[in-house]
Amino acid sequence: MPIVFSNVFHCYNPKSPYSFNALNDINMTIDEGKFIAIVGRTGSGKTTLVQHMNALLKPTQGKVEINGYVNSSNKKERTKKIGGLRQEVGMVFQFPEYQLFEETVLKDVAFGPKNFGATKEEAEEAAKAAMARVGLDESFYERSPFQLSGGEKRKVAIAGILAMNPKILVVDEPTAGLDPQASKDTMNLFKEILASGTTIILVSHDMDIVSEYADEVIVMENGKVAKQCTPEELFGVSLSEYSLDNPHTYKFAEELRKKGLNIPTTSLKNVDELAKAIKENIHG
């Protein structure tokens, strides 16, 4: 089931002097099983948008349909027990390691499924499976989450969401504060989760990551979807109108073009693709 937004508006502090329209008439469909990136400057509505996907927020107008659930401004239309949606759409917020709280890693990861009604045994089993998926072995079960390194803590937080077996995983700036290698490991983990059939929705400012991993990009601007397309379509043009930066590879290709070497605006996900494109055009 895709996620469908129909005429969605969201207004913070309505009917007050501070009222602010964070979403302005969003209409879009997000297909399942894809790696979707949501980009846009600070304050463009990215976080508000994703919070409608698991009903942390409800629209002030319009509706969002997700896996048979309806998150609507209209009470009659709205799914009654919408809390179940939070199990299907897992959300990993920015700096999720700050939300760890249990005495042991295993208890922390098992908290989610337990909260949604699993028995202790079922929850621990789900927790162990989720920990294996993120690469935390048995030696971590009884350790305190607070004694782990930054990258490990983040893995624990992600495992906690995976333990609920979500069909859609939303991650907000998952690599902020991680060193380059830990960032790469985290992104590759999402790629594996994607391969197992989970839709990944990534909110990020890092265009190098977006270009390398995303199948589709949604550009938010002033509470509207300004563009929904593939990374190649997006990064082939100048992004300054959305006050976004092109990925490093695309910027370099643009400079070469200015100096007379014609690099086509095809996929330039990483330095290897860029080097290949240069090779093909330097001798041809």
């Binding site: 060193d179 380059p180 007379g260």
Partner: protein
């Protein structure tokens, strides 16, 4: 040239038997921009705390401005040293940028009538003058770090230490702080910057790079020297800057790139020649 930092045979452990820093020695010259890189948990931040006198019981010698870091000297050292920490939300104390900067000046007993002039001057240098009456929640992470830097500039420091000052910022915030740092260095050649970071693009712009792994220095030199050790860096899971990665990828494609190429512009010109 005088030495701003002198670290000799430094050893430190939080718990006995597991040393976090093992026999580390290095110098930082006055007016230089030195980056210390290493992955999460390599002991980088512990080193920053020792330099700022926030830890005790280490072995070896640590001198800042030629003064041994100890209880007698720490006040004098800190009066000329500014620290910028990782989390921009943890270092804002005032309700506006102006109040935040005034707090630091009050602590140093600057007379009220002089404050406005000082605040305007350094907020201007840090590019935050139009935000003086903004409250922190309306600032981006990069702008908050600019405020922290402005507050430090106001004490006229000889040394600024960044402890992963940009690691929580998005790419444009990172770039923003890097260009501010380079601008400040250009305006004041005596200013020394010691930056603990995992941003290799920042390290690429420094005068000297020190690579830390498991509490030891594994590589030290100019960015060009250090980042030419591709294999060693890969072994300790550190990335190369974009320009180095691209040159390596081009060589893999059989394009011969001379060693003399150091900047993206030089590489562009070479490829388009």
């Amino acid at each position: 040239m005088s030495k701003i930092l002198e670290v000799k045979n430094l050893q430190f452990s939080y718990e006995k038997e597991t040393p976090v820093i093992k026999d580390v020695s290095f110098d930082v010259e006055e007016g230089s921009y030195v980056c210390l890189i290493g992955h999460n948990g390599s002991g980088k931040s512990t080193l920053a705390k020792i330099l700022a006198g926030l830890l005790s019981d280490w072995e070896g010698s640590v001198k800042v401005f030629g003064l041994e870091v100890n209880r007698d000297n720490i006040r004098e050292i800190r009066s000329k040293l500014g620290l910028v920490f990782q989390n921009p939300d943890n270092q804002f104390v005032g309700s506006t940028v102006r109040d935040d900067m005034a707090f630091g000046l009050e602590n140093r007993r600057i007379p009220t009538e002089e404050m406005d002039g000082i605040i305007n001057k350094y907020a201007g240098e840090a590019g935050m003058i139009q935000f003086l009456d903004s409250s922190p929640e309306n600032l981006s992470g990069g702008q908050k770090q600019r405020v922290a830097i402005a507050g430090i500039l106001a004490i006229n420091p000889d040394l600024i230490i960044y402890d992963e000052a940009t690691s929580m910022l998005d790419p444009s915030g990172k770039k923003d702080i890097l260009s501010l740092t380079l601008k400040l260095k250009e305006e004041n050649p005596r200013l020394t910057v010691f930056s603990i970071t995992h941003d290799v693009e920042e390290a690429w712009r420094a005068d000297k790079v020190i690579v830390f792994n498991h509490g030891e220095i594994v590589l030290e030199g100019t960015p060009t020297e250090v980042f030419s050790h591709t294999k060693e860096l890969q072994e300790i899971r550190l990335e190369a800057p974009f320009i180095i990665s691209l040159i390596n990828a081009l060589r893999k494609q059989g394009i011969d790139i001379p060693d003399s190429i150091k900047t993206e512009e030089e590489l562009e010109d070479f490829l388009c020649r």
